[in-house]
Symmetry: none
Subunit: 140 residues, 2 copies
Amino acid sequence: MRKTIIIYGFAMAALVGLLKLVEYKYLIRDIPLEFYIGLVALLFTALGIWAGLRLTRHKVIDLSAPFEIDTINLQKLGISKREYEVLELISRGHSNQEIADKLFVSTSTIKTHAANLFAKLDASRRTQAISRAKELHIIQ
Amino acid sequence: MRKTIIIYGFAMAALVGLLKLVEYKYLIRDIPLEFYIGLVALLFTALGIWAGLRLTRHKVIDLSAPFEIDTINLQKLGISKREYEVLELISRGHSNQEIADKLFVSTSTIKTHAANLFAKLDASRRTQAISRAKELHIIQ
DNA sequence: GTCAAATTCATACTTTTGGCTGATGTGCCA
DNA sequence: TGGCACATCAGCCAAAAGTATGAATTTGAC
């Protein structure tokens, strides 16, 4: 960021210098002012595009950081083992019925676990719970 | 892309017109040429930044994360721009109503987009769509 | 200017999910 | 032994989500 601004500053100064040079040396009397202005516009448009891209390009952080569940957060939220299992299956796209079948319990049970999960994750929808859990690094 | 270029063209034309107007009306004799040139440089730098960001909007946004959307898979699945927006918002835990409000359309529209998405992602639930989309690296 | 794709919306119906309340059984532990 | 966390289940209702179908508009590409 700082570097970009500095480079931009130098580039701008260089351009201005160049234009000044051009202006006083040969061209300003040979070519129309419109053309000169157009040149400035063109050059600074290009410079603007470059600077804009530089300034908004963010660095890539921790590329392939192996995922590790944040047990601290898990404990902090008081999510039980069974609840976590349900959370996992929800995040994999299973319905309550499917989860119930997988865990050999009734859908009522899953609903209860889910409801408790939502309360602990401050969510009101399973998609929100997934999003939240991901933020907290308790699921992938 | 095409739209951006067109808008840029118009903005440029408008700016040129404005400058011309200014030039012939009052300022060109009251203020130094350097200031005038500086103004042009400033305006077109800003325009350049804007155009640059517009033209590379997707890439810029995605570079901010250690993740790159798999546009190949996106194309392969034939997911449209609007559908992708909906997918994104779904994955962030928003309800159809919330998404509709955000995109200024009706919930019917969101439902249609979602249904098309599910078909393309071979999913029958939004949680499944999220899971699937993550696997395909088209969302984070 | 035409044509296909994309976007928008509606209606009607079914399924899934979520909110709430209450209840039972088990193991732990102070 | 009473309290507590956990896991289990039920029933009811409402809200949200999903399915199906049809249709009008807009847009983009050729």
